[in-house]
Symmetry: none
Subunit: 400 residues, 2 copies
């Protein structure tokens, strides 16, 4: 149900910690959470409401966008972040409503045919050099500002900044990447009537880039993918009446928070620096989202021990977070990243809600199998925000 009509403001404080990809699978009988020595988290689980959440739907493995959207209460099946937008956010580009974002590849073309879609995976230094050259020589096209940022190896990001706001429909242009070597690149074909202008700028950009790159041995062409504009999405403030901020080291998660209208406070370092910042800005916000990245990174690398250590490191800082005495503290992940799979997975994600209005006493530790015994049960991720708002007494009674 839409809870917007039940929102009431008060002075309670909410902290959400996302341990990215925290859920796992057993190796030698224990998951990463089960193997970790984390007395503070386990003690907290004993007195909290515990459970598990399903990020998108049964059996569905979410990307980072859908994973976070769910925990923030935005149905990931309704609100999708375009690939280009996510790439731009990940590279730290501050997107505006006037922007169309794309993922680009340097590629090799010969006699009009793509012979290498990744230009032989050119070194990142070469990418930086080429992208700087393109930036210098293509500053704008027909009044549209061109913003370029290099990624890794052959990848870079293009943002077209228009003089006016751009809708999602206006950004619907076909990928030029033919997905297979030996083929001709696609035209940037407009998939809607409204997308003609974006397609036209894309076409001109490709022509100009090809002219500039023509003497390159490998990176003599570019392929464009994931044309997208910012999704039309209600802000956290509009939806929940919460003044909110994100504390995240990695640009992508700041970007996702910014999409929802959160203040994104810059921070470098890791958990220590994030918790320090949390303590500093705590008084200024109703809701603070703190993102821990490396649980996911170690999971993706298949580094079970590294993920365990990162969980233990977070456990060390938990007392500092608890000392702020928030009315509601949520600790969960955006999805699971089992070291066993070296990838995101579909499994339900451990969830803990600390509040004075819970039963508690059902789970002995913050682990997958102990959370299964908890009072929250297994719920869809989008049910977390209503529970959080209820526990902070920010939802009025429904009906008389």
């Amino acid at each position: 149900m839409d809870i917007s009509s039940l929102i009431q403001k008060n002075s309670t404080k909410i902290i959400l910690v996302i341990l990215d990809g925290v859920g796992g699978l057993p190796i030698n009988g224990k998951t990463e959470l089960e193997a970790a020595n984390k007395p503070n988290l386990d003690a907290l689980a004993k007195i909290s409401a515990c459970g598990l959440h399903i990020p998108v739907s049964y059996g569905i493995t979410p990307g980072s966008g859908p994973g976070h959207f769910g925990v923030f209460g935005y149905d990931p099946l309704k609100y999708e972040i375009g690939r280009g937008v996510l790439e731009a956010l990940g590279l730290g580009i501050e997107l505006q409503k006037t922007d169309v974002a794309l993922r680009c590849n340097y590629a090799t073309i010969k006699n009009g045919v793509i012979t290498d879609r990744r230009a032989g995976r050119i070194p990142t230094e070469k990418n930086i050099e080429l992208t700087a050259r393109l930036s210098d020589e293509i500053k704008e096209i027909d009044g549209v500002k061109i913003i370029l940022k290099p990624g890794k190896e052959h990848r870079f990001c293009l943002v077209m900044r228009f003089p006016e706001n751009i809708t999602e429909k206006q950004a619907m242009v076909k990928d030029t990447d033919p997905q297979k070597e030996g083929k001709v690149a696609n035209e940037p074909f407009p998939l809607t009537e409204e997308a003609k202008k974006v397609a036209d700028i894309a076409k001109k950009f490709i022509e100009k880039a090809q002219e500039i790159l023509k003497n390159e041995e490998k990176a003599n062409y570019i392929l464009l993918r994931g044309f997208s504009a910012l999704p039309d999405i209600p802000s956290f403030e509009e939806k929940y009446g919460l003044k909110s901020a994100s504390i995240a080291v990695y640009p992508m998660y700041r970007g996702i928070a910014k999409l929802l209208g959160m203040d994104t406070i810059p921070v470098e370092g890791d958990i220590k620096e994030e918790v320090e910042l949390l303590k500093k800005v705590y008084k200024d916000y109703d809701y603070i989202f703190l993102h821990v990245k490396k649980t996911d990174s170690f999971g993706e690398d298949g580094n079970f021990e590294g993920k365990v250590k990162k969980i233990e490191e977070f456990d060390n800082y938990l007392p500092e977070i608890l000392s702020l005495n928030p009315d509601v503290l949520v600790i969960t992940g955006d999805h699971s990243t089992p070291s066993l799979l070296k990838a995101h997975s579909w499994h339900p994600v451990p969830l803990l809600i600390k509040s004075q209005y819970v039963w508690g006493g059902t789970s002995k530790a913050f682990t997958e199998r102990e959370c299964l015994k908890g009072e929250i049960g297994i719920i869809p991720a989008i049910a977390i925000m209503p529970l959080v708002l209820a526990n902070s007494l920010r939802l009025r009674k429904f009906g008389a």
Copy 2:
């Protein structure tokens, strides 16, 4: 959500065992599953993901059609199998897209009024004799082939085989059965504009049959019910990219599998023969559905001990199935058939998914009450297939 767009093929193997009606209710404190001595199933439950599924919806007792559809991931509220179609499948008639199937009763008519809707429940032998006579004398009507097959007592099945494909709308004709003795039979009235032809053939069939049966003392009339064509339904291959087959002794379950485009491999006997066949054809398919009927039959008979023994018999063959080492093995029922009720019931059905990507260790046995402690929780039946596909690594990530 529709997972079709996330499907990726690989070489993993999936086995689904349906122990028909396996769920039960306690008699003297124990359900059939709890009373059964089944060391192999219980050992498997300990290392598997366990849970329960709700076939259709809370409190809804499913027939065999909806029960199986749910486990195969087809929403039973969206896809319905007509009664006539189900009857024909149960009698082993291989239906085609050109067919309309009906359930028929022999009945007694006197002065234009139905005096016995079941013709005094004539013996099956009499039914066989009469149906053979009708078959001989009515081979086709206006170019439509007439196929008849006797059932038990007064019941028989009529299939009209048209020269062209028949849609569900074309088969929508009103039952002629007035449902009460002392009434006039209904006309086979077309319920849609498109159904006029089928109604017309039905009318002519009734007239011809009445003429042939006019000297019968009891079975001198026929009543028609459940006009239906094959549902328009995507195949298993289309929906999931799985090459699939069914192993089922009873025709109805082969029929349901065939509706979904599975290969239906003939087999006679019981569990032993089914498992032998499974081992023989295992290498040829991605997904094999093995159906055990008699758990349900004993439940329907109120034979608690018989159902227990059948569960124990399956347990004996489980090691042979496990020796195939499928990537995913699912064991569940299509619904519950508690001996206490002597009928299908609405209760959640025990569910076990064996895979290397589960937590395990939550359930001590494959029983209703132990599955309740499992990591799957209580899920709708249509969530089973997404979980199975996820566990066989056949679903791509959703979103970036």
